[in-house]
Amino acid sequence: MAASPAGKPGPLTETVYYVLLALVSPLHGYGIMQRVGALSEGRVSLGPGTLYGALTSLVDKAWIEPVTGPADERKKEYVITEAGRAVVAGELTRLEELLRNGRAIVGGDPR
């Protein structure tokens, strides 16, 4: 993910955005896949390979963290951090700009 010159994160990928949203409450991998599927009404179906990579990089960035608890390593749960919430808030501002401009210019009419 490219960082902008100011050191703020660039646009999030759809995978990262939805994983962050799903993790406002703690979930394990499969739970994230189901939650994202439900949020997007079945449009986004995360592959386990893609999700694993996303979780690894998000933990590295400290945007999410493993939930400490009963140590079943295989069912490790994650939750969003304050830093992660700040990133989502920044992304919302950007998405609102995209929507506002898109609606103003093509009026929500795809043609």
Binding site: G29, V44, S45, G49, E73, R74
Partner: protein, 184 residues
């Protein structure tokens, strides 16, 4: 229909994956793999979807095990592994099964295959040009041109197989990267 073992060799894992899914569609489910040896058990036709992945490391390393364990908590079974290859399956009734859902992770997987086949091609070509090969070459000259060619030609064919795969994955990386410039 009882369990069967099929001996078959694939270089192209996507063809191999298509074959495994065609077998599953006919009611034969892969349950084990060793080098060029596939073990099938009867299943309901179309019960399973198979996917093959090339891992970053050998499947027995802790890092790979952690990954495979993660995948198996998402309704997926790991039926076999061999070297850096792992064979997954998921019940078709639980929906479509893809390991990767975005271009970035598909590009990363393709790059891994490109790196592997490039190194293999280079290593085999290097052996051909090494002093060892020249010594063998001298022996070959003594045993005659026929035996020399009998060794050289299959070896060259092997190099060609790896080179073909390297070029194929290089093309795939390029195609996906072009798409990545406008979509995720």
């Amino acid at each position: 229909m009882s369990a069967v073992t099929v001996h078959k060799a694939y270089v192209d894992f996507e063809k191999e994956e298509r074959w495994l899914n065609a077998m599953a569609a006919e009611g034969r489910a892969l349950v084990g793999y060793r080098w060029c040896s596939y073990r099938f058990e009867p299943c309901a036709p179309g019960e399973w979807t198979y996917r093959i992945q090339f891992l970053e490391q050998d499947a027995r390393t802790p890092k790979s095990r952690e990954y495979v364990d993660f995948v198996t908590t998402t309704g997926v079974e790991a039926v076999a592994s061999y070297g850096r290859w792992v064979y997954f399956r998921k019940r078709a009734s639980e929906g479509p099964f893809e390991l990767f859902s975005d271009l970035d992770s598909r590009i990363a997987h393709s790059r891994r295959l490109l790196a592997f086949y490039s190194v293999m091609t280079a290593a085999l070509a290097a052996v051909m040009a090494s002093p060892v090969a020249r010594t063998v070459g001298t022996v070959e000259t003594r045993v005659g041109e026929f035996w020399g060619l009998a060794i050289f030609i299959p070896y060259l064919a092997l190099v060609a197989v790896f080179l073909t795969q390297a070029l194929r994955w290089s093309r795939r990386v390029r195609e996906l990267s072009v798409r990545r410039q406008v979509e995720e």
